[in-house]
Amino acid sequence: MEFALSEEQRMLQDSITGYLESKCTLDEVRQAAEDNVTKPSDVWQGISELGILGIVIPEELGGVGLGFLDAALVAEALGRAVAPVPFIGSSIMAPVALLNAGDERQKETWLPKIASGDTVFGVGVSEQIGRRETDGIVSSAGKLTGKAMFVVDGLDADMLIIADDNGALHIVDANANGVTRQKLKTIDKTRALAEIIFEDAEAELLPRSEKSNEALLKTIDAGRIMLAADSMGASDVMIEKAVAYAKERKQFNRVIGSFQAVKHMCAEMASELEPCRSLLWYAAHSMNHIPEESRVLACHAKAHLSEVGRFVARTSTEVHGGMGFTDLLGLHYWFKRIGLDRQLLGAPELIREEAAVAQGW
């Protein structure tokens, strides 16, 4: 029994975190945000060279064939760096959909391209979680009609995977006739979410998703675990920044971290977040090794990290005083990243209901 990261996993974590710390600094993030770019070419180049775009794609299909725990470590590192790169939609959800519902040809066509970074996929499944501002998406005779909201990585995508009203998954060329995209401006300028309208757009069914929603659920579970991991990384940074600030900022002739009110805010953040790390590890591990538990665990990881993330985001901001509220400090990039992670693919109340249903309650 060993409930810990392996040596290889720690190396993976270090190499990605190290790369992002040097090449995806807050200045770069800010520049990208100001330029409205969510896939800056140098960072994209760098992370594709690290091989992480194909992290869950099998080696024979061009990937590195690692598990969801490894993938979660990558998502966590990206959250730490508030990195503006497509990952959760393109490199996790799309491959999970293709691997679980695609036929051989579809897998052989697309997975190597995702792994190499040649093709970016957007994934639209939000209508299957809770439909708003749309009447849904109808599939008929190989064509899609309707509207998908909050398509993950949708703005930078070359190709799309879209769930129709029956939960079947389809591949659609993002630039095909009958497909119109609109950027959804969100609080988080590091992410590319899109509204996509389909009018008789050519679509190719992922055949194993037609009669069973297993693949759809796996895709959603994987996305949720990665969002939880993203929040884990972002929350970690917010605590580190709060603690560092509390050790350095002086008022009343003493560092503010020696005031109990401030010290206790920091202790509470750490006490709330630290157990989430173990929950996240277990949930991600279960996707590969304990599938009978993974549905409920994915719900817990996403919902619980949403709650703790929100607490950490506001508390860390508060520890920074007025400085925390400024654009200048940039703390808000992490605040907003956590804010978006929470709402995407189901806000916590909805997800807890799913967890209850999944346990037969």
Binding site: R254, K263, A267, S271, E274, R277, S278, H304
Partner: protein, 396 residues
């Protein structure tokens, strides 16, 4: 990450299961009560020691089973006893025995460890005083060496179990001129020593759990000290470390969560089980996520300890988060019972023997006792996060 146990451990697990199957009927029913163990409990404990399911790593020469330390085996024993709902054994007094083994003399180890782990010698902890709680090191009960004896005068309070205990391990000030942490000694003595008066204090649950303990010219042989004169604070910290580990135990959290699920399934309003009502479901699932995260946090600590690594932050938070979570689970159960939730003692309609209200109160005692939640936050802030201590006020 590998959650499977290897063959050696699976074989060990099978052994424990076999033992439980064959001996379950000999185990005392229910939880151990407040008083000293009865004959049935002592016989059970003896049987467990003999098989290595209690006092497992305590050396044979001191009355234990004498196994090599193996954290995973301890964990398997705890898990299997919990699954079988059989009362587990104990290692004597978790606050005292490790300290005697670590810092006691050879004579003390022989005299104290065996009887303690067999339940023949029970202990109370004489630390807190009316004027010294969180600031324990300011304690003022004093002991003066007169010839071959310590003479103790003063008062302790909140002394759990002092009304039953055979023995007391006690902090007293022996070096009045030394700085406060360096003037304390750790003495041990029998509770029937003349001059000790115990007055039970009834707690909010209605039971007398703890006591006021008064010392008037209590004479204790000089050698009944653990560690050196003036080093009692460091000896005591060794015990606090062991005590802290057991408060907020994740196995207990999971058991309580299961009981909470049963309550929500069984309690009905107008025929509808509460678990079907969205507001209760939501709170239940929230608590489940917290419980599971503490369970996996426990597995992380276990792995670190098993690899001889200091677990760090995951361990620092256990008492604070675990005790609070227990309390919240009890709170939800009470709310779920609505008006029935106030029933107590042996009232008709009482659910689960009234354990929820009782636990709701007891948990608060655990949030306060053994280092309050605020003191835990100070320690997490200072020791785990490295934040500076508060500046000291000039002594007035």
């Amino acid at each position: 990450m590998d959650l499977a146990y290897n063959e050696e451990y699976e074989a060990f697990r099978a052994e424990v299961q076999q033992f439980l199957k064959e001996n379950k009927s000999k185990a005392p029913k229910g939880r151990a009560g407040w008083g000293n163990p009865d004959e049935e409990s002592k016989a059970w404990q003896q049987l467990l020691i003999k098989h290595g399911y209690a006092a497992r790593t305590i050396p044979k020469e001191y009355g234990g089973y004498g196994a090599e330390p193996d954290i995973l085996k301890n964990h398997i024993i705890a898990e299997e006893f919990a699954n079988a709902k059989v009362r587990p054994g104990h290692s004597g007094d978790a606050r005292l025995v490790p300290v005697v083994l670590e810092l006691g003399t050879e004579e003390q180890k022989h005299a104290l460890v065996g009887p303690t782990i067999r339940g023949e010698m029970t202990w109370c902890q004489g630390y807190s005083e009316p004027g010294s709680g969180s600031d324990l090191a300011s304690l003022s009960t004093k002991a003066v060496l007169e010839g071959d004896e310590w003479v103790i005068n003063g008062q302790k309070i909140w002394t759990s179990g002092a009304q039953y205990a055979d023995m007391c391990f006690c902090l007293v000030r022996t070096e009045p001129d030394a700085p406060k942490h360096k003037g304390i000694s750790y003495l041990i003595f029998t509770m029937d020593t003349p001059g000790i008066e115990v007055r039970p204090l009834v707690t909010m649950t209605g039971e007398a759990i703890f006591n006021e303990t008064f010392f008037t010219d209590v004479r204790v042989p000089k050698e009944q000290i653990i560690g050196k004169r003036g080093e009692g604070w460091f000896v005591a910290n060794a015990t606090l470390k062991h005590e802290r580990g057991s408060l907020g135990d994740p196995n207990q959290l999971e058991a309580r969560f299961r009981a909470l699920v049963s309550i929500l399934k069984n309690e009905k309003i107008d025929g509808k089980p509460l678990i079907e009502m969205p507001l209760y479901r939501d709170q239940l699932v929230r608590l489940q996520a917290r419980m599971l995260s503490m369970k996996y946090n426990g597995m992380r600590i276990l792995t670190a300890s098993n690899n001889n690594k200091e677990p760090g932050l995951p361990r620092w938070i256990v008492k604070l988060v675990g005790c609070e979570l227990n309390h919240q689970m009890a709170a939800l159960a009470i709310d779920a019972m609505g008006e029935l939730g106030v029933l107590y003692d042996e009232s008709p309609y009482l659910r689960d023997y009234g354990m929820w209200q009782r636990n709701y109160m007891l948990d608060l005692g655990l949030i306060i006792g053994g280092g309050t939640a605020q003191i835990q936050k100070n320690m997490i802030g200072e020791r785990a996060l490295g934040l500076p201590k508060e500046p000291k006020l000039k002594a007035s």
